[in-house]
């Protein structure tokens, strides 16, 4: 490995750590509602203090959104990567769960 390579790797890791530590890219206060968007359009608003579940149907497939104990989570979906299901539950303002294949976003406001 060349010196250039090591410098690049070190700079990238340091930038990631610094950004993470600075909190500039971290969520802040708790939110009230989970808002579901499909392709940028608002689809539903679910208050976080009320346990519910909702199946979001799009042209591409479905995502099951569950609200429980003040957290919103995607518990099931038929998208090809399943990343939305693996993402952690959310509760703070601007936190998101994203399903890129279905263009579905759950965002706390």
């Amino acid at each position: 490995m060349k010196k250039f390579d090591i410098i690049i790797i070190a700079v990238v890791i340091a930038a990631a750590a610094a950004l993470y530590a600075s909190g500039a890219f971290s969520p802040k206060s708790g939110g009230d509602e989970a808002v579901i968007y499909i392709d940028g359009d608002e689809y539903a608003r679910l208050p976080l203090d009320e346990d519910t579940s909702l199946r979001v149907e799009t042209d591409e497939g479905y995502n099951d959104v569950v609200i429980k104990d003040g957290y919103a989570d995607v518990t099931e979906a038929d998208c090809r990567d399943g990343l939305c299901v693996n993402q952690r539950e959310i509760s703070k303002v601007d936190e998101t769960i994203v399903c890129l294949p279905h263009k579905v976003i759950v965002e706390v406001e």
Partner: protein, 165 residues
């Protein structure tokens, strides 16, 4: 000329195949935009073995054909923006005389991740996506090293066989 056509075909097919293989690999970290970037192995080899112009052609064919064959056009904007941004950065980094393949690959991986999440944040109008930036930087560094090493060993092997473009 016909030799060049054959090289283009082989590399484009390999790049598409890598994308397909990658779709079957589950990434352990649930962050949108993170992937191994196997197709980038081929793009980097093409860059060093055949030059930038050929690598651009192969890259464009890969993105277009993968969209047509596997992914559909829902992810087309993301893959195109990721591929274009990372290619520009890699080509620039490659020009630096002291640069190595692994550094180029890391920069490519990181740029790819950031461009994709940036475009997604714009297209979907969701600034909250930027929370993933630190994770995507770190992931890009890790996958970039892996991809760079693979490309490096492949290139050494190609050189040993005496194959010429």
């Amino acid at each position: 000329m016909s030799k060049r056509v054959a090289f283009y075909g082989i590399f484009a097919a390999l790049a598409m195949l890598m994308g397909y293989v990658e779709a079957m690999i589950q990434m352990p970290i649930p962050v949108p935009g993170i992937k191994l970037g196997l197709a980038n192995v081929i793009v980097i080899i093409a860059m060093y073995f055949m030059g930038n112009k050929a690598a651009i052609g192969i890259n464009v064919i890969r993105v277009l054909m993968s969209a047509l064959l596997f992914n559909g056009f829902s992810g087309f904007l993301y893959s195109l923006s990721g591929a274009a941004a990372s290619f520009i950065v890699m080509a620039a980094a490659k020009k630096i005389r002291s640069s190595g393949i692994i550094g180029v690959s890391v920069l490519g991986g990181v740029t790819h991740n950031i461009a994709q999440i940036g475009v997604a944040a714009l297209v979907l109008n969701t600034p909250g996506l930027m929370f993933y930036v630190p994770a995507l930087l770190a992931a890009g560094a890790v996958t970039g090293v892996v991809i760079g090493l693979v490309a490096k060993y492949c290139l050494e092997y190609i050189e040993k066989t005496g194959l010429k473009y």
